[in-house]
Symmetry: C3
Subunit: 436 residues, 3 copies
Amino acid sequence: MPAYATNMRFKFPILALTLEVIIIILFAVFVVYDDGKSSHGSGHDTSNDTHVDNMVLYPMFQDVHVMIFIGFGFLMTFLKRYGFSSVGINLLLAAFGLQWGLLMQGIWHMDHGKIKVTILKMINADFSTATVLISFGAVLGKTSPVQLLIMTVLEIAIFAANEHLVAESLKANDVGASMIIHAFGAYFGLAVARMLYRPGLRNGHENDGSVYHSDLFAMIGTVFLWMFWPSFNSAIADSGVPQFTAVVNTYFSLAACVLSAYAISSLVEHKGKLDMVHIQNATLAGGVAVGTCADMNIGPFGAMLIGFLAGIISTLGFKFLSPVLAANLGIQDTCGVHNLHGMPGILGGLAGIVAVALGKKEGGDAAMQAAALASSLGFALVGGAVTGFIMKLPVWGQPPDQNCFDDSIYWEVPEEEEENEESLAHGEHSKNKAEA
Amino acid sequence: MPAYATNMRFKFPILALTLEVIIIILFAVFVVYDDGKSSHGSGHDTSNDTHVDNMVLYPMFQDVHVMIFIGFGFLMTFLKRYGFSSVGINLLLAAFGLQWGLLMQGIWHMDHGKIKVTILKMINADFSTATVLISFGAVLGKTSPVQLLIMTVLEIAIFAANEHLVAESLKANDVGASMIIHAFGAYFGLAVARMLYRPGLRNGHENDGSVYHSDLFAMIGTVFLWMFWPSFNSAIADSGVPQFTAVVNTYFSLAACVLSAYAISSLVEHKGKLDMVHIQNATLAGGVAVGTCADMNIGPFGAMLIGFLAGIISTLGFKFLSPVLAANLGIQDTCGVHNLHGMPGILGGLAGIVAVALGKKEGGDAAMQAAALASSLGFALVGGAVTGFIMKLPVWGQPPDQNCFDDSIYWEVPEEEEENEESLAHGEHSKNKAEA
Amino acid sequence: MPAYATNMRFKFPILALTLEVIIIILFAVFVVYDDGKSSHGSGHDTSNDTHVDNMVLYPMFQDVHVMIFIGFGFLMTFLKRYGFSSVGINLLLAAFGLQWGLLMQGIWHMDHGKIKVTILKMINADFSTATVLISFGAVLGKTSPVQLLIMTVLEIAIFAANEHLVAESLKANDVGASMIIHAFGAYFGLAVARMLYRPGLRNGHENDGSVYHSDLFAMIGTVFLWMFWPSFNSAIADSGVPQFTAVVNTYFSLAACVLSAYAISSLVEHKGKLDMVHIQNATLAGGVAVGTCADMNIGPFGAMLIGFLAGIISTLGFKFLSPVLAANLGIQDTCGVHNLHGMPGILGGLAGIVAVALGKKEGGDAAMQAAALASSLGFALVGGAVTGFIMKLPVWGQPPDQNCFDDSIYWEVPEEEEENEESLAHGEHSKNKAEA
């Protein structure tokens, strides 16, 4: 297959080292420790003792950190032969993205020409990587590490622009980021996936599925995401009542979502059985959908209604909508991010419009909420299409169809005990396999 | 097998959706955010700034959350073919149980007809699910999701009644819940298991065992439970000295328990080898047994003595007592909850009586401690027997003996790579397997 | 093989029980709860309300706890047949070590003849076990549980002496313990490994490698270590600016390290592929290397430079240096601790000398920093050699060469589904296997 230059030996190291060197230079010029003297406009920095205040957010920062690195990383290990890439490339993109995100978000909020690092800014930097990891889910198994680093550079820059527009210009509410992270990340990724459409995978791929233990690894990701989502939705909320409200709403939305996701999974599956894809993903839709309203006075039962509905929509999306998108629109969405982040993200944006219109948030403006949703979707679709076009250039080492969903094209993979399977009889063998 | 209607297609979704809808309605009527104006009688809410106080407990809440969802969930994945159910049904029961628990505990402490949600109440709601998850361990592999939801409804209601009696009427000390959670959950589950006795499993079942990697998944659960147990035992302690004491006592009790559990495992096993069942479970008995005394002035060495003894009793229970209970009393205890939660829970209750009698807790009363232990065991055994009787009704989709301990009866299970094993040659095949 | 008495039946239980009984007696005599009246010389205990202050550190303590028990434990599960020992013996050694470490560190800081437990002391006790777990990595797969308990007793005593010398006599800075934990633990372990050199393993061992899922289990360890390293490096820093600085520096050092480790891994591997050994380990070198300077005013970009360099050195070490050490110096370093903890630890010590010389730490003295590094290496090499000599005595149940890297010599191992492999055709079979 001469058309595919998947050898990463120089492309990838040169790109990675170059990016890191550029970032270190930019940090040397622009980034300093917060000295507690700046005024950020955030509710967290009103005290004199900023560093102690800073550290008050540290446990929530760590919860978010776990969601980014364990949650997203392991959620994607459900594929039978793609676990190294799922958790490994997740680590790479997030580690790069948090540095880049701090810069891209920071340039909108310079203080005397400097970006002053706080725990709050580190949380936001982690958040910016979440958009990339959501988009990664849409193209999982079909892209090279080089393509994904390029996507990270572009997506985070576009995310930061949209986030600034939504938060500062529109002054819209989106504390848990249903719109600016979840919907944005999903539709950005779907636009990229559309650009990278592979007709050769229309009939599926033998490695595009799980085995028993890969589904259990994925549940590590699911459960950590599920548990720490209250931290995600409340970490940047104003301290006091709003933060507490965001924790409570997210806790109950997720709990209600579990019941509806399980029920609908059983209802639509063969013999009433539960489907791991639904359980791994749709149980989280309540966290996505309650994001925009999380700090609003919607009542615990209001949060539960949102979660309940999100679980239903998400599960039905996996069952009925994803196959249609793949077959008719050429959108091959490996992890079904449309069902976990896309539709629930829009639901969250709509719920936010309604809640603000009903006066559940002091000073909110329903029109600005709607503009924020539209802006997020617009930036995502246009940005994703442009990014996908760039990623499609035939020089980034994209894998050929037959090597999709297979770690061994970019990783040294150990010889398996169950080696005699025909499914490993690819043209591409790892060093260890060759020794077998 | 016409007697077994294990198809969950309508039973399970209808029950799950109905329960969730009822809960949302009850929440709409009764549950509000805490406004900081109530007086709970808890040491945590004495400050004016209740919401900040509330959030002080948030990191401990998250530790407990991890124990409930990762700890219990993965601890039960040791079975070779029952990992989906272990972690998946654990998530279902806990997500439902925390909503139900908040209501069942809340009705005993209404404030102007409302239940006011605090982080402390969310911790208690998580706690109430722990009883169910302990009982789940006793019947793991032998019950349908419908039976388990019914058990959750009944067990949490009974737990809340006993907890109210113990804490409010008897005014007994049980900060780490050796009696009201561990002993209660274990004996409740054992009573259920006795009612659901299966003569057909007297000689074991080929799926009632582990494989190498399932034992490693279980260790994820063990280690998270072990690490965060100091949070479990101290989360609802009065802040200041009692909470700090509970952390220290639990930390050292668990450490001592590890040494005795390993030593006894090696002593009683073939050729001095260690047994994973003991390591996964008996190393945690120190956390259970120190629960009642956790906030008492028993000294670090006192805590270590309790943990040391608990590790011995628990390991010996797994080795010698469980086979006797199964063979002679018809109590088939899949996870050995009698050894991890039952006997160590009673040990904890007894240690509490002694410690209070020795004046280690200001204001304690040894007779009330004894009454609390008796009450917890009584509620558990009677409640469990009644619940087991209801669960035994032949309409809840209970699996036939040959499909016990097998995910594929209630889950879509992916085709395994090592598919040609004869152990999968059941009457029941998953869709994917059928394609193989 | 009459020379190898690997049956642990009496040796191990007697040693474990004896050690625990001695520790409980020592605790009864010496260890009490902190009453808030002592003066520790630590920045954390200046307030009157010590117990609340104490609990402020509790979330960081739990992060460190997760690193010790999940991080180190699962990082070592990469071996295909040694996961039980990796996570199980890790738990044993750490649970014993934290009790022993509290005593060994405490005797240097007695207060009226008592050791007063605080959360800070519990963090330090956890830290002391880290040295043992690092050394464990060097000899993983080649030692018995009895040998490892002996190593724990000796290594923690020697660690505590060196730590006291470095911190109290030299007054050197090493907040994140690059020197006193990482370099010390690594070179101690390498000295032990040298003493236990096995010529029979010169050509490798069939079990000294990973399988697909064992590499994924190891990534659980890697990612938890990576995420919580900012807590490790800042937990014992003075609160306020130094602690905040340590968090920020570690966060950025680790992020930069990921990029360089991935880049170099791809550069040196066959066809530009990534190697899991590098990803699992070298991505963490930035946390090690920034340790000594973590609380110094080196700037975020300074931290990134250190991490960037550490990722390069560590990856190159795995690729080129480890084979040389094994072949020419007889140092068989199972986990490559020289590359993750040894060289990056020295780099951290050197960076600390430079940073102090440049005035990045008030009151620092570059000569004392150099003395601290030399002391740590000296104590490690001499202590490790003596300890290795004692461990080599032929009475501790050391495994013969052919049973190295195999759980089944010390553990009951379940029958595997893929049982028909020839790799299990050892002389040693577990009970369950014998039944197959």
